[in-house]
Symmetry: C2
Subunit: 292 residues, 2 copies
Amino acid sequence: MQVYGAIEAGGTKFVCAIAPSPGDPFIERVSFPTTTPSETIEQAVSFFRKYSLKGLGVASFGPLDLDTASPTYGYITATPKLSWVNTDLLGPLRKAFNVPMILDTDVNGAALGEMRYGAAQDVPSVVYFTVGTGIGGGTVVNGRTLHGLVHPEMGYIPLKRHESDHYQGNCPYHGDCLEGMACGPAIQARWGPASNALPADHPAWELEAYYLAQAVTTVVYTLSPHRVILGGGVMHQAQLFPLIRQKTLELLHNYITNPTTPEAMEKFIVPPGLGDDAGIRGALELAHMAVD
Amino acid sequence: MQVYGAIEAGGTKFVCAIAPSPGDPFIERVSFPTTTPSETIEQAVSFFRKYSLKGLGVASFGPLDLDTASPTYGYITATPKLSWVNTDLLGPLRKAFNVPMILDTDVNGAALGEMRYGAAQDVPSVVYFTVGTGIGGGTVVNGRTLHGLVHPEMGYIPLKRHESDHYQGNCPYHGDCLEGMACGPAIQARWGPASNALPADHPAWELEAYYLAQAVTTVVYTLSPHRVILGGGVMHQAQLFPLIRQKTLELLHNYITNPTTPEAMEKFIVPPGLGDDAGIRGALELAHMAVD
């Protein structure tokens, strides 16, 4: 039987899976730590060698070179994960498997997965943010993941500091950008390593919601998506959702016509429908699109 | 002869034009001040009655209701121009002319005009900002202007204050958003009514470039367009372009792979190719798309 293959390539771990079609239960799914490029990619190749692949979808951490006309197409480029800087990710996979492949960012993959099988099935566009060790965002518009000169890198959008917040930000590239102010390690740096155990009414979450609401507001003003999905480890703090919805309403200030009510906001900012499977499910969908 | 009709509906003036096809010289073009909704729309209707219309494109100030399923489709909604709040713009035009029509935002229209006939003909996506009395931004992705739950409203993106800048911002909705800090009246409020005559090396332009570079950076991180066009009255200050390019390079900090050089930035941030005709040309293109 020919199957679709999918890789969710993360900075911490790689997930590989295969399924008869992108919405089906996985036939097999494995995950292993991200070590050196050659070792990790070889481990993925070994996994897929057991199957007869129809196509392969890869949703990877980045930034990526997605310009098919570029000599470094399919490379991971200026990533903060230094051993992976300028790594040819797609090349070794193409050498091993002569099947149609599509590479996209991990967050574009997750947005696509959520749109086809998750919390955005009923709308034509979506933005997906992951908030964890880092922050990233991807988007699907008119059925396609969005690329341009490069691809969205929503973790680095500039934002306004809260006047009470004197934390300098921990992004090595941009200091106090969205990621620098609101990723998991930034919360820990402000409130201590046990921040996951802070009570739900701790001011840490108000501040976190303030920054994430700015991120949502920014995509409302630039992309005007039909829905915004917030996933990743930090968003396991469910008390963040009502806080972010409330602050987004305040920031939008009724200027746009929708969403302007708490009810509309409840449907607008939501957790992932696929939980931690959004990325790998999106990668399967990329495999399906490659074959089509 | 049947012709295409176009309206560029601005808060200060309406421009109406007709042409045999969207790229042709105008057969006639008029402009008149924006007064009351009924008077102004009636004036547009009178203009087009002289011709046999094939289709009509309308690029309007907003915000607009562009949801064809909505009871207020075609309305101008929460605009700061109070006499136009909740004005049915498309309805009277549809009543007068039984031809295909498309309504879009003025800045989406300008982005479309620039992509088809102006400074973005060689690329597949573009963001167009107008910086004048207000600030707005529109975008074309994959050949289509971008809409979602509503439409982009790029003038209101949150941004980081310059530490030396204590101006409170003049946006009635959001205070110190992009428009509040960087529109023409904000420059005048800081530096005096003769700000247009300030020398090219005055610190006013450094500060203005700082905010506009944040706007460019934000769309790079969210939309990743192939080109950013900066038009509008404030951008007649040509010394702003090199300043904005330089500050955008600094803000991006080499994180994304392109643009990272002054040469690439020179092609990336550009003035409009159509000057002040981008909007009306885009509206003609909307008329053409409506007929197609």
